[in-house]
Amino acid sequence: MIEGLNPALILIIGALLVPLFPQPWRRVYVIALPLVSMLQLVLHPYGSFAEASIYNVPLETFRLDNLSFIFGLIFHIAAVLGVIYAIHDDDPIHPTAGLIYAGAAIGAAFAGDLITLFVYWELTAISSVFLIWARRTESAFKAGMRYLVIQIGSGVILLAGVVLHYRETGFISFNEMNLESIGGKLIFLAFGIKCAFPFLHNWLQDSYPEATASGTVLLSAFTTKLAVYALARGYAGTDMLIWIGALMTAFPIFFAVIENDLRRVLAYSLNNQLGFMVVAVGIGTPLALNGAAAHAFCHILYKALLFMSMGAVLLRTGTCKGSELGGLYKSMPFTTVCCIIGAASISAFPLFSGFVSKSMIVSAVAGEHLTFVWLMLIFASAGVFHHSGIKIPYFAFFAHDSGIRCEEAPLSMRVAMGISAALCIGIGVFPGVLYSILPYPVDYVPYTAAHVITQLQLLMYSALAFTVMMLWKIYPPELRSTNLDTDWFYRKGATAALLPVTALAGQTTDSLFTALAKLKDRTLGLFDKTVGPGAWLSRSVDSSGMVALTMGSLLVFLLLYLL
């Protein structure tokens, strides 16, 4: 342990050296690097280190406390799992970009001031886009570009907010802020974009499914959880977050059930899980913040596990479309078991990790007597079970046998999935270990009769609904192969309700774009006439013209001064 050395720097600088290592050593190096960095973190005492100053503004580049520690730790674990998962791949882009990305996210979590936060914030955007581009397809390139524009945009808004905040308050440290000033609002918006708030969320579902199999695993871990951390640090207890979060838990469910690409389904459910954390941050009590941190911790693990299992399927079959998969449990039994463990965790089955963290959040909501929010969360929990707990494993591994016979996932993927699955169960069975590193002291017992029974009721009724659906399987197999039958009402309802809206929106945007194009043509024409090459403002004026101009100016000045 070197006191004051930021683990983020170990990762970022170390990652830049990855391409220099020849192949067998590179594998060792990329696994050792995050482990060394994690060791540095775990052994490091709390406090503020590596203080610097820039433009006479004091910086606090490495702040370690209860809240940043747990996020730093889980980011490290995710980095280790991510590189192990992809170790079979010879492409050096993945470990390099992935470890820089992890380092940037960790650096942002340890940032004690807003300028450092901004630097790492932008670095996460720039490094992570390579994970999308690494797939090297046209659509991945375009999705990456869109992703980059939005992420950089978030950074620019953050910078504008930081500058205004600094001018208003004179403080640059990254602590609690409020929404009263413009600066505070802009920073909140920047966080909101990365956190995929409703209506700001589309980049997530757009880009994550386009990344490489291993890229998505890393992407799912850092960016959004970093935003949750930033919100918890800056805006804990902001009431607006409760409603934003509640909306986030509910609306992705409708989209998830009508989606066929299973990695996109997971991207929607990622959004839904973020909603739970945002609600908890909005409540802002110690119990809720503990819940947010714990849920982020568990969520990174089981979401990575689910993305890993889908990545393995993608690697072996070349597709992640629900309609084309099915019956894979025969070929990929290990992956199937891991996927089911991930699904059980995300659905919050007792004895799995999701249960011990989600119940904290639900209890915190109940403790504040927010009945409507509580109902929304319960609804969302049921919804999660539908699309992540049942839909993902069912369509990929069971359902109608697609006839695909492939190899089991490579060893590296199985090792990474195995570790993640073990952690998911371990946390579910021994929650005390997780609770001991939460930001606030915990006196919360997850396994009470009431908690377990409520959750089991919820899950059992969902399972019952699923069973009923199974009985209705007299429907033609094509329908089943694309969508869950029980969600027929959502699907029809959502489509019917959304159709006029989307049609209207389509028309509006169409006419808007036509108008804009017309405007563009006209202004460009105007510009060509005025400032274009050779036009009157930019053409070369001959000597007599310039002399006349000078004399005119002198005359104006003289008249002005002498009269």
Partner: protein
């Protein structure tokens, strides 16, 4: 033992001027381009060392007064060096020397070997005269050196291979002469009133004539004359052509130094000779300067966006950037002046680097049209890399030098509660993104034309100076003691003196 060095140190201001001034005729005596280049390069780097030594002496405040030929002022010619002088000196010598280093390779393709020595002579003369303008404490001397620099510059521009360089040089000649004449008239009026030419002496004697119409006329002539030299909107029309048609790396030198030194003269005269109260209070310079500089920033940025020749595009961007500096002066508060002085240095650095990187590209493509530069990011990755860093600096992205000056400028505008001005500055930055982005887009993302598909990376002697400029841009984006720190002290001195 310390006898000789201390004497040497006392003579530094004279040495600073003489190094390049004497190297010029020596260069012209040789008909060997390489040898002349060596002499010129050694002289200019020695002059950089000298500038550093002088900066070291005046660092943290204080000034050096040197009597030329031992004649005490106000009768003799005085050389005055304070922090503002020192930073401008450093700008002229350092960036001049860097360009000089790159110049040999750049010239070899367009000029016969024997002619080159004369070109270096002119270059050195130009540098010497700019140094002279900067360090002199005598108003008439300013005019003399201004004429020398103008004459040298005409020659430099006219050496461009394109015929249009001749007309561009001719126009610059006419405009430069008018500008210098106006400044001479202004100085003459002041001499008529006070009977002295020493700047310090003038500033003491002028206040009693503040209500005199002659002084008002003098100020009007000076403002127009110097505005021509600075290429302030709308008297900027000579600049784009002069920059576009001047040969190769020379543009880098001109863009870095000539207008900046004129701006320095403007600051010196307005603040130290005429006095702030007279210029801004009685003469209302601010009401003219603010709208004109803002209009200049916007019009020139917009024009730059629509250019299809890389050199001309950068030249228009220079007009816009000079507007930033003029606005900084016109704001008349600590942040504004800090920004003007900082941007003088930063912009000189970035624009010289950009023009040099462009010259390296043109060295291979023989054309500066944007179309011929397409795809050059793949064939000349190092040159384009330096260009990209410098371009990003010019936009004003955080952690580059350009950000520092823009930050102070926007702060200055906000200090005055001029929110619309701040917004306009942000809009002009967006335009900078557009014109730099346009070039980077062409360089990196357009396919290379077939005739340039095989071109090689530029020669090292040009690449290394390019990268020095690029790295300095990053360095001065983080460590601002030399730029903004010094400029802050200069600003409070200038404002405090009033």
């Amino acid at each position: 033992m310390s006898q000789i060095p201390s004497q040497l140190v006392e003579q530094l201001p004279a040495i600073q001027l003489l190094l390049t001034l004497l190297a010029a005729p020596i260069c012209s005596m040789f008909r060997n381009g390489d040898l002349s280049w060596r002499i010129a390069t050694v002289a200019s780097w020695a002059s950089v060392a000298c500038a550093f030594a002088l900066l070291h002496q005046v660092w943290g405040g204080g000034s050096i007064s040197y009597e030329m030929g031992g004649w005490p002022p106000p009768w003799g010619i005085e050389v005055v060096i304070d922090e503002l002088t020192a930073i401008v000196l450093l700008l002229v010598t350092l960036f001049g020397a860097l360009v000089m280093t790159a110049l040999r390779e750049s010239l070899s393709s367009i000029m016969r070997h024997q002619r080159q020595s004369l070109y270096y002579t002119t270059f050195l003369l130009c540098m010497a005269s700019l140094i002279g303008i900067t360090i002199t404490g005598d108003a008439f001397n300013v005019f003399v050196f201004l004429e020398i620099s103008s004459l040298a510059t005409y020659t430099l521009i006219a050496r461009g291979r394109d015929r249009r360089a001749l007309t561009a040089a001719f126009r610059y000649l006419i405009m430069g002469t008018i500008g210098a004449t106006f400044i001479l008239i202004a100085i003459g009026f002041m001499y008529m009133l006070t009977g002295t030419l020493n700047m310090a002496d003038l500033s003491e004697r002028l206040p009693e004539h503040y209500d005199n119409k002659v002084l008002h006329a003098s100020f009007a002539f000076f403002t127009i004359g110097i505005a021509l030299k600075v290429a302030m909107f709308p008297l900027h029309y000579w600049l784009p052509n002069a920059y576009t048609y001047s040969p190769k790396a020379t543009t880098a030198f001109l863009a870095a130094t000539a207008t900046k030194v004129s701006l320095y003269v403007m600051i010196r005269f307005i603040f130290d000779v005429y006095g702030v109260e007279f210029a801004f209070g009685q003469m209302q310079l601010g009401t003219l300067l603010v709208p004109l500089s803002i209009a200049g920033i916007l019009v020139a940025s917009l024009t730059a966006v629509f250019q299809d020749d890389a050199k001309r595009l950068l030249a228009w961007s220079s007009v816009a950037q000079l507007g930033y500096m003029a606005l900084g002066i016109a704001l008349l508060n600590a942040n504004g002046l800090t920004s003007a002085v900082t941007h003088m240095f930063n912009h000189a650095m970035m624009k010289a680097g950009l023009f040099l990187a462009l010259a390296t590209m043109i060295y291979r493509t023989q054309s500066s049209s944007l179309a011929s530069l397409s795809g050059i990011g793949r064939t000349m990755p190092w040159t384009t890399g330096a260009f990209a860093i410098l371009g990003i600096g010019l936009i004003g992205v955080p952690f580059t030098a350009g950000f520092i000056s823009k930050w102070y400028l926007v702060s200055g505008a906000l200090d005055k509660d001029w929110l619309p001005v701040a917004v306009l500055l942000i809009i002009s930055s967006l335009m900078a993104i557009a014109y730099i982005g346009k070039m980077l887009d062409v360089m990196y993302f357009k396919p290379a034309p077939s005739e340039f598909a095989e071109i090689k990376e530029g020669p090292k002697s040009m690449l290394i100076p390019c990268w020095i400029f690029a790295l300095l841009t990053l360095y001065f984006g983080i460590d601002t003691r030399l730029t903004a720190g010094l400029a802050g002290r200069v600003a409070s001195n200038l404002l405090g003196a009033s």
